[in-house]
């Protein structure tokens, strides 16, 4: 007998799914703000070769980019308590997301900073701006504008990656899906709809961030 698809038992739990999706978006929002902030700091240290922070950020970037997010999450949630650093599920999830995004955005933003044409900096120097003023007014904003699409993609990757936070019982979207399928025994249908929801969220985040980039970072509609 052919399998009968039935999505109704999933739709019944739509409230749980939406709550989970909302929580995933909230985690992502906090992760994005602090992750990009951390990445900006890292990029400054790397681009300006501020000893010893440039080295530290270099090690940090390589360590994070060459290990899986899931292992980073487990290390934070299960490993750190051994050092007396104990935290809740969502705190651990956010921390892992910030640390992960921070590493990638350090490299992304650094590339943007280093792509600043020399003439821009010389023009600002000749106007007697200080190093700090040049960075703030002449380097950073065009650099962020240039790499904003790459940062947007990275935020989406982190959002999608946060699905594994269900493994430490962070009550995000995948956690909700796991719960629902354990109740209705409709695993395929549940994960199918959940996947669709993630896809819609990825589109939404891309739209939002591109709008934001257009209006806040670039400062005008091109």
């Amino acid at each position: 007998m052919a399998y009968q698809f039935d999505f109704a038992p999933v739709i019944d739990h739509a409230d749980l799914l939406l709550a989970g999706a909302g929580f995933t978006l909230a985690l992502t929002a906090v992760g994005a703000v602090f992750g990009i902030g951390l990445g900006t700091a890292g990029a400054i240290c790397r681009a300006w070769k501020l000893r010893p922070f440039d080295r530290l950020f270099g090690v940090y970037v390589e360590a994070i980019r060459n290990t899986p997010f899931l292992v980073q999450l487990f290390f934070i949630f299960f490993g750190l308590p051994a050092l007396g650093v104990r935290m809740g599920e969502w705190q651990a999830a956010v921390l892992a997301m910030v640390i992960n995004l921070g590493a990638y955005s350090t490299e992304i933003i650094r590339a943007g900073i280093e792509a600043t044409p020399r003439g821009q900096i010389e023009a600002a120097q000749s106007l007697a701006l200080t190093r700090r003023q040049i960075f703030r007014h002449v380097v950073l904003r065009p650099a962020l504008a240039k790499v904003w699409p790459a940062l947007t993609s990275q935020v989406i990757i982190v959002m999608l990656g946060s699905a594994v936070c269900s493994q430490i019982a962070t009550e995000e979207l995948t956690f909700a899906a796991n719960f629902i399928q354990s109740r209705n025994f409709r695993a395929f249908e549940t994960y199918f709809l959940t996947t669709a929801l993630y896809f819609a969220m990825a589109l939404l985040i891309r739209q939002l961030l591109m709008q934001l980039g257009r209006h806040v970072i670039v400062g005008r509609a091109r």
Binding site: R65, P68, L70, T195
Partner: protein, 217 residues
């Protein structure tokens, strides 16, 4: 049962598990590369429907979590009446994931070949297939090597997610050891070191290739 684990026991078990991580990575990368090549050709073909279908394929895999892809493959295959082991689901899921990303990376490389190359080869009366075979692909291949090696790091890291559907590789073994030894800090530190040992050389190699390529241009 109460077993005393020495650090060496932990390391030995993890090394053993790392073999499975490595095996899965290789399989996913090779099979994903083959499927990705097929997707690539469909994506850059002149056939509208094929273009649209493969574009959607790529967008779906890049716009959804790897974990969901694994779940859907796992439960989808069992609905289809196939008796799925975690090993099969992991290999199949990761292969599809890899194929979508590689196809998109390679498409970018084909696009990066200057328009003039198409026009020049067209004026020589080469057919589309001949243009591809003799002019475009050889150049695209050169551009593609560095990002392809770079993506292999994502594949290795992606294998960690298969632990969630029950495939016993490095991360899964780490979780079990952490529970058994009550030393999660040490165990997950070692697990991370294991992934780093696999990935970092690939990252370095990709970076070196990229530099070499930029100099060569």
């Amino acid at each position: 049962m109460l077993v005393q684990f020495t650090t060496w026991d932990i390391v030995r078990n993890l090394l053993d598990a790392a073999k499975w991580t490595l095996a899965l990575s290789l399989i996913a990368f090779v099979l994903g590369g083959l499927v990705g090549l097929a997707i690539l050709f469909a994506r850059i073909s002149k056939h509208r429907a094929l273009q649209a279908a493969t574009k959607a394929y790529i967008e779906v895999f890049q716009g959804t979590p790897l974990l969901m892809q694994l779940f859907i493959v796992f439960f989808g295959l069992s609905l289809a009446g196939i008796d799925v082991s975690p090993w099969l689901a992991a290999a199949a899921g990761l292969t599809l994931f890899t194929s979508a990303y590689l196809a998109e990376i390679w498409r970018g490389c084909v696009d990066a070949v200057p328009k003039g190359q198409w026009e020049a080869s067209a004026t020589l009366a080469l057919s589309y297939t001949q243009q591809m075979r003799h002019v475009i692909l050889p150049q695209a291949l050169r551009i593609a090597i560095a990002p392809t090696v770079g993506f292999s790091v994502q594949v290795v890291k992606g294998t960690a997610v298969t632990s969630i559907i029950g495939f016993t590789e490095l991360t899964k073994t780490g979780s079990m050891l952490a529970n058994a030894t009550f030393e999660p800090f040490v165990v997950f530190g070692l697990v991370a070191a294991g992934y780093f040992a696999l990935c970092y050389p690939l990252s370095l190699y990709a970076k070196r290739l990229e530099r070499k390529f930029h100099v060569a241009r």
